[in-house]
Amino acid sequence: MSDRPTPHTVSTPQESGPGALLYAPAPESRAVVSLRAAYGHFIDGEFTEPGEKTLVSVNPADEEKLAEVSVATEADLDRAVAAARRAYDGVWSRTSPSERGKYLYRISRIIQDRARELAVLESLDNGKPIKETRDVDIPLAAAHFFYYAGWADKLPFVSPGVPAPRPLGVAAQVIPWNFPLLMLAWKIAPALAAGNTVVLKPAETTPLTALAFAEICQEAELPPGVVNIVTGAGATGRALVAHPGVDKVAFTGSTEVGREIARTLAGTPKRATLELGGKGANIVYSDAAIDQAVEGIVTGIFFNQGHVCCAGSRLLVQESVAEEVMHRLKERVARLRLGDPLDKNTDIGAINSAAQLARIQDLAEAGRDEGGEQWSPPCELPSRGYWFAPTVFTGITQAHRIAREEIFGPVLSVLTFRTPEEAVEKANNTPYGLSAGIWTEKAGRIPWTANRLRAGVIWSNTFNKFDPTSPFGGYRESGYGREGGRHGLEAYLNG
């Protein structure tokens, strides 16, 4: 114990026992990232001078300032939307589809070229482990551009019965902080492939990879105005969505904001794609391969610190194996390594912001107050930054707040069931409908369960997998529209 080499990683009793694994620190260098002190917006192909009003983007792992970004004024938004409109009318809609596709291929390649830099920058700005940005966020972002690049000259094949689809025009896109560059790719790649131009606003706490992406657009020689990036907080997003110059709104974020956007768009001709919250059920049947299921439970709720709309935040475990699953789950969670996001051994990074940490703490307190039993492994949290230990709540019923509300953090609520019917009933007992998981070795049980779950993405014997070809999106209050695959393009085309 005493010779543990780094303050960033957390010791657990298991690691100190005989045969325990000791990890030397393996930090990724941040030298590959160079940041400006302050950023303006990216409008019409150029960075503007930093504005008067700014936000500070901090590293949530140590609360150090990374850079200042500007808060868009109404005039900034007007200019961005006007630039997007000019580019749409004058350039992008007149660019041949195959050439449009080639710009997207270029972008995909440059993301791959700069993958290391983007992974480190994302990890710094977001707090997520470098192994996730390196292996998931950045490769998938590049893959999305590569996938949609190929669609640009095949649009007559997108919707059956629609031989000559037309783009919508200017898309306003507002994205969250949990997968900053990946969500940007999910938004921009299909929009551009379909022939739209965009004004995108990244989240206020994670704007930096979007600004790096603006440089990539320049490097790809994308015509000015096709992609515009404006920064700011909620008010900026609200104004962008409501801007009369946009034809399409795509939003990923909370259900609460999604409702507000749907209200704002009522009575307008604007179309919307809303990818909102979730309270995914991860169903473990008694015949599941328990060790695999435990890995899936861990991936389901602790991947990306649980900052995942499709997280498996409700574990539904069949009563007959509940004790065994909980025992092995706790053993496994105790071996997770929480600490420096840039360390390649880190499993759990920092909570993205002080505000999010407060929300997680509030809901955990509600879980305790309502009689839930809270468990976390022995876990020393770093003294600076925003941290929350991986947490499992047992003794939870469907009425508990932590079984109903999206926590968006590393907090698992465990419920049990006896019959498959009860599992489905409980899984569907939520206003959300984004994701679910099924763990069983019984072949027929997978489609039986999947057919009955009211959720847009269902993983069986795996969890939290994503692919550019795979449509993603929810039922009910998890929003509407799909992103990814052929379906994702339909949201950016008129029939």
């Binding site: 259900t255 999604g258 009575g267 997978i446 847009g456 997998k465 449509p471 695959g485 379906h487």
Partner: protein, 311 residues
């Protein structure tokens, strides 16, 4: 309520000649008029409110009294539609198609009745009314053929990286509240209703406010077509009274605003509270045009299932 005995009846038979012997009995047969009720959960109840509303032809003649549905009726209709949803969605796609085809058969058998109601409601001659009824019947046939093709046309495998099978398939979104077009009481109604149930949803329909009688007669065809009770529920009454309840109802998954008129923005705003899917009204709908998938896809969800591949 006013008696409906004053409604004009077609003088199809000449009065019988008076018998030679007096006194002459009153021999003209009194026709049996239909009571126009709601269609709710497979039954034909009156409004729970006990209210009705006189319905007149396009030139103002009294035709019948229709039930004036209340907000409670609307909520009951949602309950009926919700309980019918699971079993209807689970029926085989081809069986749903056969039931929709059966609706066309039943309408054909009542053609004369539909034609007369269309003439009365729209003030048109019989020939165009015949065309409208034919188009309405054929629309059921069109959608009957869609039920077992939607999944193949819109779904399929996704070639994801990694050891996974990945398939997307369309599923019905659930309970759909349909505000039927106001000025096309039969063809418009069928055009908005058929795609909703063809896709496996269940429906709560608010019939054309001014001309609700064809909707009730359609309900009689639905009730004799092996369509399970509750799959379609038809309310007659005031759109402005019923629609806000349906739009804001948390157990309504989608809203077709075809007949919403000036209420459209207000209803879309109300629907936002529970992220209800909204199909906005078209400014100038052509109910004769071949509809394609345009009225099916707004009421579908896409479900994507990943399965791990392994030995």
């Amino acid at each position: 309520m006013a008696d409906t005995a004053t409604a004009p009846e077609p003088a199809s038979t000449a009065p019988a000649p008076a018998p030679a012997t007096a006194p002459a009995p009153v021999s003209r047969r009194l026709p049996v008029h239909k009571t126009y009720k709601l269609y709710l959960g497979g039954a034909f109840p009156r409004s729970e409110s006990g209210r009705s509303i006189p319905v007149t032809s396009s030139d103002g003649a009294h035709l019948a009294n229709a039930a004036l549905a209340s907000r409670k009726d609307a909520r009951d209709a949602v309950v009926a539609a919700r309980s019918a949803f699971g079993p209807w969605a689970a029926r085989s796609a081809q069986l749903r198609g056969q039931i929709l085809y059966r609706i066309a058969e039943m309408m054909e058998g009542r053609r004369a009745h539909f034609v007369q109601e269309t003439v009365d409601a729209q003030g048109i001659d019989e020939a165009p009314a015949q065309d409208l009824v034919s188009a309405a019947i054929d629309r059921w046939v069109y959608y009957a053929g869609w039920t077992d093709k939607i999944a193949q046309v819109l779904g399929g495998g996704n070639p994801v990286s990694g050891p996974y099978e990945n398939n997307s398939s369309p599923e019905p979104t659930g309970v759909v509240a349909v505000l039927a077009p106001q000025d096309s009481p039969l063809l418009g109604l069928v055009s908005v209703l058929a795609p909703v149930i063809a896709a496996g949803n269940t429906a709560v329909v608010v019939a054309s406010e001014r001309a609700p009688l064809p909707a009730v007669t359609l309900a009689e065809a639905l009730a004799t077509s092996d369509l399970p009770g509750g799959v379609v529920n038809i309310l007659t009454g005031r759109t402005a009274e019923l629609a806000p309840t349906l739009a804001a109802h948390a157990d309504v998954n989608a809203l077709d605003l075809a007949g919403a008129g000036d209420l459209a923005t207000q209803l879309e705003t109300a629907a936002a509270a529970t992220l209800t899917r909204v199909l906005r009204p078209e400014p100038f709908p052509d109910w004769h045009a071949l509809p394609g998938l345009a009225r099916i896809t707004p009421f579908l969800e896409t479900k994507t299932v990943w399965q791990t591949v392994g030995r």
